[in-house]
Structures are given as structure tokens and as C-alpha cells.
């Protein structure tokens, strides 16, 4: 925050009223409360306030997030310039007063058309992206927003503090677990040692008393393996049993060749389906849009990532923070933010200028699901026509931190599903007649995919 001396004749009153309004506003949530207290501390001694009049920081934050945040951030260039301390900056550097700001916010296009020098300069500097007009914002609303951008709450500090506290908690949890395990191991080792000692003592006592142990007696008889070898029937049964079990395991091994169930390769960018599809509830078909209309459910191109990640440049996590499990795996907020930077690197996005300034580098994703070329599978036929949920075949993707192949994708698995799944016949007038006839032929109410020809070789192999 810049310190400005005597910019406004009665700025002290404003600073005071700002502090007062912050203190008396009752609608603040806890974090804002702390933040507001911090800003009053920061703002009051520095002698800075909203330069255009008193404003409510909390209300300003709300208005800012609703109206401005799509294109503006506080400390960071987005579609439009960074707005922290914008009124101060304008009056200091450009000699523009609050009236200029008011009219710019309400009708920027009009100001550009009227030939205002700074308006045209900023318009051209930001790739001629026109700012939406906000005629509905009152002077007071704008003052609230300005109060918020002049004195942004020091949220990162609070967040870091809570994160640190949580990290500490998680760490202590891990240590105590290890301690308990260690203690248990020690107790177990002691018990084993005691057992040995007792055993040895007892043996000595037995020897001293002249008792002959049972084991030594048994050794004098026929050895058990000799007895076994002499019994030919037993040998035959054992050999048959061994051969059968060997065949069983060999068959099991041969059958799993070519099945990639559970395959979870390391991808060049760590993409968490759990965060995207689970936590944020983004539809599968948002990214895999070709599953709706084509044979393939394609890997989304990076422009689809950038639909959101143009705005989301860092991972802030859940309100409840990362779980102990995630932390143990190294999935911290910083880790995920680093992965977003990898995306920027690949797509050639320059964060400074907010443009695709750099050379893009293709991401070499590792393919997980791969049907052999001799099997035909069509996604749209299942997803759009059959209305099958993605999860039926791909499993609980919204819970997968690392994507893996859930189903075996074998022919037996396909055939089994075709036998069990009923065809969606409602609202499908085109095939009404053939559905009716098939139902009559098989004497059933609902026709399965198999009865409709879903088991015929040529359906998938041709």
C-alpha cells in the first residue's frame, strides 16, 4: 500500500469513518472480522483510506467478487489490470479523480469514444477488451469496492497460519501413530524373548530330572516321508492334486495376460479426477465431450483446461484443507499449483501478459484404456443412446486421485453386461415396432442388449 500524504484535505475523517464502519459492521464472518481488524490496524496508522469516500470493506468485497473478479484481481493482471490501490494510483500517477473512475465504471465504452486520453491508452494496452458497463452501481457501491481494493484483507497470512496449524496437527497425528506402533513392536519382541528363555529353562529342568522328550521318541520310529513314499495310493492322489493345482494357476496366469485392470501409469501432469469431477462436480462430458457424439471419448485438448485455468492459477484446496492422507502422499496445495504451472508451460500461457505468448509443447499423456484394434467399441452408442453412466465401466472416477483402469475390458465382461442390461426403449419411437416384436419373440417385457443382437460376433468384430 502506498503512503499518500495530504492528498485529500479531510482524509483523516474518512480514515476514521472507515475504521468506524469496519468496527461496527455486524455482518462480517469470523475471518473477515480478523481481516478487517487487521486492515484497520494497517490502514489507520498509514493514514490511508478509500480516496473517494467512506466505504464498507465487507460489502465491497462482495460487490467486487460479484461484478469485477471475472476480469480483475487485486495483485495480479487478468483480462483487466490489477486493482489494488487503483484510486490512489490513478490520482497519483495520472491525476485522475474519483469522478473519472465513476464514469469509467458506469460507461467505459462512452469514455473511449469521447476520446479521453487515459481511457484510450488503457483500452489499447489491454488488447482492446471492452469493460462491461455497470450503470447500476451507485456512488456508494463504487466507494465500497474502492475501500475493499484500497485495503485488501491480508487473507494469505490468515490462511497460511491456519494451514500451518493444520499441518502441525497432522504431523503430530503421524508421530503418535508411529510411537504406538514402535511400542507395540517392542512389547512383542520382549514377549518372544521371554518365551525363548522360559522354554530353555524348562528343557534344562526336564534334562536334570531325566525325562525323555516326546520328539526324540518319535525320531526313533519310521520317518514320515518314508511312510508316505511307501503308500502308493497316497502318492498318486498327491501327484494328481499337484498337477490340477498347477494347471489351475497356469490357466489363471494365462488368462490375465493382456488384461490391464488396475493399470495406473504416471502422467506427465498430475491430474486429479477427485478434485475436478469429485470436489468441484464438473461433468465428465465437459472435458470428454466427444464421448457424447463419437466413437472415442477423447483426451481433452489443453484449451479445455484453459477454460477454467485461465482464472484458476493456483490450487487453494477445500475449505477444510488437505486431509492427512493427501499430505502423506505429498499432495499439498503447492504441489497442485506446480501442476497448474506445468499446464501453463505446455500451452504456452504467459501469466505476466495473460496471453498465449510462448511456444506450446504437447503433453505426452499415457493412454490407459486401450481396446485391441480387432474390437469395435463406440462411446456415443453407450453414453448418448444407451444412457449408460460413465461410472458403470470406468468405476468411481470422481474418487480417483490417480486414474486407473477399473474394468477388465475383456470380451467376457462385455458379453456379461450385454446379457444383463435392458435396452432403453422409452421415448424411442423410431425402433418401437422392432422392440415390440423382439419382446413378443422372447416373451419378455424388457429386451436386453443380447436379445437385440448384442452377442453377434459381427457387432464388434469385423
Amino acid at each position: 500500500m502506498k503512503k499518500v500524504s495530504n492528498r485529500h484535505p479531510n482524509f483523516a475523517i474518512f480514515a476514521f469513518s472507515l475504521a468506524l464502519s469496519l468496527l461496527v459492521s455486524t455482518s462480517l464472518i469470523a475471518q473477515d472480522d480478523a481481516a478487517a481488524a487487521a486492515t484497520t490496524e494497517a490502514a489507520a496508522p498509514a493514514g490511508d483510506g478509500s480516496p473517494c469516500g467512506p466505504g464498507d470493506v465487507a460489502k465491497g468485497k462482495q460487490l467486487f467478487n460479484q461484478n469485477c473478479a471475472a476480469c480483475h484481481a487485486l495483485e495480479r493482471r487478468m483480462t483487466g489490470p490489477a486493482l489494488a490501490g487503483v484510486a490512489t494510483r490513478l490520482s497519483e500517477d495520472e491525476g485522475l479523480d474519483c469522478d473519472w473512475l465513476y464514469s469509467w465504471i458506469r460507461n467505459s465504452a462512452g469514455m473511449i469514444a469521447s476520446g479521453d486520453a487515459y481511457a484510450n491508452r488503457i483500452y489499447n494496452e489491454y488488447n482492446q477488451a471492452a469493460m462491461t458497463a455497470f450503470p447500476t452501481l451507485s456512488d456508494q457501491d463504487i466507494n465500497d469496492i474502492l475501500a475493499y481494493v484500497e485495503a485488501p484483507p491480508p487473507a494469505p497470512v490468515a490462511a497460511a497460519a491456519t494451514a500451518g496449524a493444520e499441518g502441525g496437527k497432522a504431523d503430530s497425528g503421524g508421530i503418535s501413530n508411529e510411537l504406538i506402533l514402535g511400542a507395540l513392536t517392542l512389547v512383542f519382541a520382549l514377549l518372544v524373548m521371554m518365551l525363548f528363555l522360559v522354554n530353555r529353562t524348562l528343557r534344562r529342568i526336564a534334562e536334570a530330572n531325566g525325562v525323555v522328550l516326546e520328539k526324540e521318541k518319535a525320531e526313533k520310529g519310521l520317518p514320515i516321508w518314508k511312510a508316505f513314499a511307501q503308500n502308493q495310493f497316497l502318492v498318486l492322489v498327491t501327484v494328481i492334486f499337484l498337477m490340477l493345482s498347477a494347471a489351475y494357476f497356469a490357466y489363471g496366469w494365462f488368462m490375465q495376460v493382456g488384461v490391464d485392470q488396475g493399470y495406473a501409469p504416471i502422467q506427465p501432469i498430475h491430474y486429479s479426477h477427485k478434485i475436478h469431477a469429485g470436489d468441484n462436480g464438473i461433468d465428465c462430458k465437459y472435458c470428454h465431450s466427444s464421448a457424447r457424439v463419437s466413437k472415442h471419448s477423447g483426451i481433452p485438448s489443453l484449451n479445455v483446461c484453459m477454460n477454467c485455468h485461465k482464472s484458476i492459477y493456483e490450487y487453494k484446496g477445500n475449505p477444510e484443507g488437505p486431509s492427512a492422507e493427501d499430505l502423506a502422499m505429498g499432495y499439498t496445495n503447492e504441489f497442485y499449483t506446480g501442476e497448474i504451472k506445468k499446464l501453463y508451460e505446455a500451452v504456452g500461457w504467459d501469466e505476466e501478459t495473460q496471453s498465449y505468448a510462448n511456444e506450446p509443447k504437447p503433453v505426452e499423456w499415457v493412454r490407459i484404456h486401450n481396446l485391441p484394434d480387432f474390437a469395435y467399441f463406440n462411446h456415443s452408442q453407450h453414453v448418448t443412446v444407451g444412457q449408460i453412466e460413465c461410472q458403470t465401466c470406468h468405476g468411481p472416477v470422481e474418487e480417483m486421485e490417480i486414474m486407473y483402469q477399473y474394468s477388465p475390458l475383456t470380451m467376457g465382461w462385455c458379453v456379461n453386461c450385454h446379457r444383463e442390461t435392458n435396452v432403453q426403449m422409452e421415448g424411442n419411437d423410431y425402433y418401437e415396432k422392432i422392440h415390440e416384436e423382439l419382446a413378443k419373440k422372447y416373451g419378455v417385457e424388457k429386451v436386453t442388449a443380447a436379445q437385440m443382437g448384442g452377442l453377434e460376433c459381427g457387432k464388434c468384430h469385423y
Partner: protein, 187 residues
């Protein structure tokens, strides 16, 4: 019999050992790999000699894909102004069906930010991941079916283009549904 049990146990242990060796980071063995992998290039396959090193290529310059028509307005303020007056080419007699499809597509592609009702309160906004998504009824943005189509086609400010996820008909269906949401919001 003792030996039998031990041997059985050993077989089970060996099988378990083999199973544990299976590395989920690597693909499994295949019987006949040349039946799994095409002779032709796969989509997105790495191909050294092609431009960009990938089998995914852009259409040749100055060509139009079969069944597609170029969009007539350019991505500029003037283009957006012109698009305001554009009317939907979809058959108004099948409006109900179009709105139904539009609603489904809206649910997939738009609702995550713009909200199911179009009030700008989608899940990502509620979770404060993306901020400042306006309501369709915002009086400052006088959206029409044409300008909605234009914005879906090119994107606007922080919003990206959805031209590669929705085809032309689908874009119009979504635009019509957006106008319906706007009507519902302003009522």
C-alpha cells in the same frame, strides 16, 4: 500330509509373490501386440515427421470441413454488436425438443460456472474457484440469442471458447436455453 500342506502353502505364496510383482505403473504383457496396435496412426500419436510432432493436425488452410459453415462475424467488439441482431436458425416448431437438448448441454458445459438457473451461482463460483460470473439477467449486459451464440463461439474475457465442444446446432440450442433462463430470471 504335512508336506502336502507345506507345498500347497508354497504354491499360494509363490502366486501371491507373482501377483505382488505386477506393477500397476506398467501395462501388462500382451499376446499379440501387433493386433492391439494399429498400423495407421492413432489419434494424438507421436509422429516425429509431422508438423508439431503429433498425429493431431489442424485442418489445411483455407478449407472448410464437410458439413460446416464458417461463422460470419469476427471476434471483435464490432462482431459482437452485429451478432446481437442474429436470430436463431432453429425451427421454432420444435422449440420444446431444442430446449430439452439445450438444457442437458447447458447442464454439462455451462452450469458449473453460470449456475443451473443462470444466476451466476454455479458450483465453481460457490466454492470461490472462479469469481465474478454475472447473472444472465444483469441489466448491464443486454444478451440476446445471437450474442450468446457469439460468446459461446469465441469466448469472452475469462470465458473460453466452446466451439470445439459444441457443434453449430448444439450452440444454438444452448443459446435458446440461455434466453429461456434469462426470461425466467427477469420474471
Amino acid at each position: 500330509m504335512m508336506k502336502n500342506t507345506i507345498q500347497g502353502l508354497m504354491v499360494v505364496a509363490a502366486a501371491a509373490l507373482l501377483a505382488s510383482c505386477q506393477d500397476t505403473r506398467e501395462p501388462n504383457y500382451q499376446y499379440m501386440p501387433n493386433m492391439y496396435e494399429s498400423v495407421g496412426y492413432d489419434t494424438y500419436q507421436k509422429v516425429e515427421w509431422l508438423p508439431g510432432g503429433s498425429a493431431a493436425l489442424l485442418p489445411a488452410d483455407n478449407t472448410v470441413a464437410r458439413g460446416k459453415m464458417p461463422y460470419r462475424y469476427e471476434n471483435s467488439l464490432e462482431g459482437k454488436e452485429m451478432a446481437l441482431a442474429m436470430a436463431s436458425p432453429l425451427d421454432s416448431l420444435s422449440r420444446e425438443e431444442n430446449l430439452e437438448v439445450g438444457a442437458e448441454l447447458y447442464g454439462i458445459y455451462c452450469a458449473v460456472c453460470h449456475g443451473n438457473k443462470g444466476d451466476g451461482q454455479g458450483n465453481l463460483v460457490k466454492r470461490e474457484k472462479i469469481l465474478g460470473v454475472p447473472s444472465y439477467a444483469d441489466p448491464g449486459r443486454n444478451i440476446t440469442v445471437g450474442s450468446t451464440y457469439h460468446v459461446i463461439y469465441y469466448g469472452l474475457n475469462a470465458m473460453g471458447s466452446y466451439a470445439n465442444q459444441l457443434n453449430e446446432t448444439e450452440r444454438w440450442q444452448v443459446s435458446e436455453y440461455v434466453m429461456k433462463l434469462k426470461e425466467d430470471l427477469t420474471q
